[in-house]
Amino acid sequence: MSRWTGTILERDYDALHQQLFQPDHDEHAAFLYAGLVETLCGRRLLVRRVVPVADHEFVPSNRGAYRQIVPRAVARAALECDELGLSLLWAHSHPASGDAVDFSGDDLAAHVYAHPALIDMTHDRPVTGLVFGENSVAGEIWAAGEEPTRLTSLRVVGRNLKTLTPRPCQVGAAAERFARQVLMFGAPGQQILREMTVAVVGAGGGGSLLVEMLTHLGVGHIIVIDYGVVDETNLSRIVGAAPADVGRLKVAVAHDLATRIDPDVVVDAVYGDIAYVDDARRLLDADFAFLATDNILSRYAFNLVCHQFLIPGVQVGAKVTGGNAGGIELIHVMERPVTLQDACLDCSGAIPADALTREQLSPEARRAQGYIDGDDGADIEEPSVITLNSISTSLAATDFLLMAIALMPKETSLEASAYYPQERELRSRAAVKRPNCRFCGDGEKSVLARGDLKALSLKPGARPSRAVEAMPKAQLLAPVGAVARARDFMAEVLRRHGDDH
């Protein structure tokens, strides 16, 4: 049986919560329209829009239940949702429910009565009924041709990441190795990290530092993706790399680094390039993602995947620019959160169109435009220093930690951070979100939360493989860790929730 989860932006969850839990302490209702994504670990609903049901359309039921969303409101929502190509959800509240909630008999009867028609009305896309408690949610998904399935969890993503379930999850004791961290955020916080899947794109100077930190923090599952090979010039900054690693894939070095630190961590070391669809899809099971690469195309791909599949993340980088006389002009270190609700990397100017265009031109075409190239038409290498990488990655990992365990105050801005070492100054960089942005905008054409309902605008297939490496190919290219983790997760869910599934 396929596992179903959901993801909703914090701003949409807040609007939904405000609608469902009103001062009258009565039940209220709303529709949600969602994109869909299917991966090895299951299927996920990506909420794109919340549509409150007006009180005059949520009336006493004439079918023996407590309340009724009138047929006209249902028809309107189904038509609108269908036109957008999205999947329909409807939600109501049980105001007396707090940390645990479940469907009543009438609720389930409503699903039987209405969902088959709603599936027809939305061209066979899944239809979901939800019931919310103050801090809990239960859901039942009806997919064409399948038995109804319960929703495992609903993830709220924003300043703080929160997971809603039908009832509180049991918290186990944290391992002794995390004792000093547990003093900060408790065993529940440590368990949150253990149950998270975090992706790191780029296993070079920044990526290796992130893998090391995430492992030390106790993140249970790390997906690290890169197509590069360690060369001698990397030894100054790839954490975990030694002279004997020259010629090895960077992801293999990252894998070994992490598993030496924590033998229980699951690491998917993926040879790949997220500019390609198949490689980018390796990120889709991540709860959070980091980008630590040095090209614009991967920033575009990261921005696209994060927004289309509602995966929050952070982009890191450091830049040293030389002056005309050959001296250092400027050193700056950047950390850009991708919150999915604020200005994205494109709105922030981090994906310049000319640079993106140039990267994808042939060397000859680039030369014809008078761009400055190296002797063989390749891009010029830029300086890269471990201490600078450490600053950006540490800022990013700390933001991640606070968001993951819900310690980021709501009033804290998550604008990009820029550190200027020569001035010893940390500044934030404001960016304005463009309403018609194709990534983060609210327009119909934006990719936000569309999931698999829109093909990824990336290169088809996967990056061609290379015949190098001591690591067995099966371990590199197959999601061995993810499959095992998915199996273990389902076993844990069944143990916790018993007869619900």
Binding site: A353, Q360, S457
Partner: protein, 131 residues
């Protein structure tokens, strides 16, 4: 092709209703859009070209730039323009005339104010009155 490329192709077809508009999908996800038999004026040899642009898979985040036509495009009077390079190897030894034009120097493609059709129109207008 991507949804964005398909929309742009449809826009070019709607803009150039009196021309044949062809397309070719590239292995890297790019889409070559070709407007056939465009009159660019007797000052050029040839005066009639098939004008093309390759939309990268990242379009419209990347620009529709540069434009191309058959190799060897030249002014009758011998005048040269840096924006027009008649013999460029665009890869795999395929030779083309490369026409490197932006709109008012803007190094972006602003979908709020431009379409691919309008970009083609702007390039053709420049070719008819090169400066």
């Amino acid at each position: 092709m991507t949804e964005e490329q398909a929309d742009a192709l449809a826009n070019v077809k709607a803009t150039f209703t009196e021309h044949v508009v062809d397309h070719e999908e590239a292995a890297d996800g790019g889409l070559l859009v070709i407007v056939r038999q465009v009159v660019i004026g007797d000052g050029w040899n040839p005066a009639l070209i098939d004008l093309a642009v390759k939309l990268q898979v990242t379009f419209p985040s990347s620009m529709p730039y540069p434009f191309y036509c058959a190799p060897g495009l030249a002014r009758i009077d011998g005048q040269t323009f840096s924006q027009v390079q008649p013999n460029v190897d665009i890869g795999a030894s395929v030779m083309r005339t490369q026409i490197s034009l932006t709109v008012q120097g803007q190094l972006q493609f602003d979908t709020a104010n431009e379409t691919l059709g309008s970009r083609f129109v702007a390039v053709i207008a420049w070719l008819r009155s090169p400066r």
